[in-house]
Amino acid sequence: MSKTPSVALPISTNSSPVVAVLEWFGEFGIFMWQVLRAAVSPPYQIKEFVRQLDEIGARSLPLVALAGSAVGVVLALQARYSLVRFGAKSLLPSAIVFAVVTEMSPIITGLVVSGRAGAGIGAELASMKVSEQIDAIEISAVDPLKLLAATRIAACIVALPLLTLVASFCGVVMGWVASTIVEPIALMRFINTGFKGAEFKDFLAPTFKTCVYGMIIGSVASFQGMRAKGGAEGVGSAATTSVVLSSLFVILADVILVKVILLLFP
């Protein structure tokens, strides 16, 4: 039978909101299990995966770099003001580097990709669903979960850490630029001071936790897109709910992952 999920919105039926939410999670769980089964069985859709990596990763790069840069500048200006008040101006490079790399870049990258790629995936798949393109794929004896969902989820999982590295780099560099405009400091000195006392693991876990964000964005957007119903309204609804739900789950995942990382890498 058709592999695409069947209900349009998280709370769409006549049942109570609690039941509808539980139904949503149940259907989402089944969807993820089916996607996982499809993803691990050959043939693999490498060409589509690379196309999605370009669409989700490369095309999100300018926006993520800009967001990372803005975070670096804002942090530099805000942190300087606070640190000067407490006589701890020398800690400014460390404050910027740690804040950018461990928390600000991952969450900003997650939210930016959630907005850009989440909406894109949700709208594209919803449009394909309502115009019967997904049915056409299935009738062609090609698994739409493997071709459409698994490739997008995998591309999000791979792209997010790479984009986070870019955001972190831009954030640190622009943090230095903002700092040095106010009070000149050499780049190497800024970096040496900023990374002083830091270990590789301090940056590894926060960067790679964005793989979870990627999985959330790709899977929620694919799920919402492939269960769309109706015409233009259904497509719009799928795009909106993709962004709202994936952003919400990214923030919730961040809260949980911060605690997990602190426990695992004290």
Partner: protein, 262 residues
């Protein structure tokens, strides 16, 4: 260039014109309280074209989706090339689907792919043995067959509705199917384009000896391309036979339908 089938073990039953390629056995389907199909049965053999007509909402398109395994009947069975589409394994269903071509009402072309890529889609996934030049040659042959030479690089949004249906037909024929299912092939087209599509479908059916089902509201089209016509009402087949049989029928619903169309 004709493409030899990759795997046709499930279709031996349909190699002769005697065995039905499609057997619909007492199929019933409801959506909530609404009974869309109520014990529908018929057979279609190779070389035959069955046109299914009826009012909107009488379950014609649902029947096609049950035949291709996109939907499961509440009762009865759709047996396609010996495969029960509601009970077979995913591999068997996929194997049967490779022998079927499906033209959607609105063509359902992949709007991010060019005409060439649309037609090549089934080949890219199931005929990996074809070299790029063989693939291109096959696509050109298919587009030539549907009268669309020279449109390889256009996007679906750049061509008319009639041309989209032709591309959809070319895609449906890419794997050289045994069965062709057409969901309202002339819907939304002007009378001249409708006539051209009818003629094209008729030629393709004769050339490939297909077992075809055409769902349509267009009695003129049905009369042109079908060997048999089935009229559906309230989820049941009211009458099935040749056009002349329908004309002779005393059923009021049949008379109403014919009167409206002619």
């Amino acid at each position: 260039m004709q493409v030899a089938d990759e795997d046709r073990p499930a279709v031996e039953i349909a190699e002769s014109n005697d065995a039905p390629a499609i057997e619909i056995q007492s199929v019933a389907k409801s959506y909530g309280p609404q009974r869309v199909l109520d014990g529908v049965s018929f057979n279609v053999r190779r070389g035959e074209t069955l046109a299914i007509l009826g009012k909107s909402g009488t379950g014609k398109s649902v029947l096609l989706k049950i035949i291709v395994g996109l939907q499961k009947p509440d009762a009865g069975a759709a047996i396609v090339l010996g495969t029960n589409m509601s009970e077979a394994s995913e591999d068997d269903i996929a194997s049967a689907r490779k022998q079927m071509g499906f033209l959607f009402q609105h063509a359902a072309l992949y709007d991010s792919l060019s005409v060439e890529e649309n037609v090549a889609f089934p080949l890219d996934h199931h005929r990996k043995d074809l070299s790029p030049s063989e693939r291109k040659e096959r696509v050109q042959d298919l587009l030539h067959e549907v009268g669309l030479d020279g449109h390889l690089n256009k996007m679906p949004s750049d061509i008319s509705g009639g041309m989209q249906k032709r591309v959809g037909l070319a895609r449906a024929l890419a794997l050289d199917p045994i069965i062709l299912l057409l969901d309202e092939p002339t819907a939304g087209l002007d009378p001249i384009s409708s006539g051209e599509i009818d003629e094209l479908v008729l030629n393709l059916q004769h050339k490939h000896n297909l077992a075809s089902i055409v769902v349509t509201h267009d009695m003129v089209s049905a009369r042109t391309i079908a060997t048999r016509i089935a009229l559906m009402d309230k989820g049941k087949i009211v009458i099935e036979g040749k056009f002349d049989d329908l004309q002779k029928s005393g059923e009021s619903f049949v008379a109403q339908f014919l009167h409206r169309n002619f």
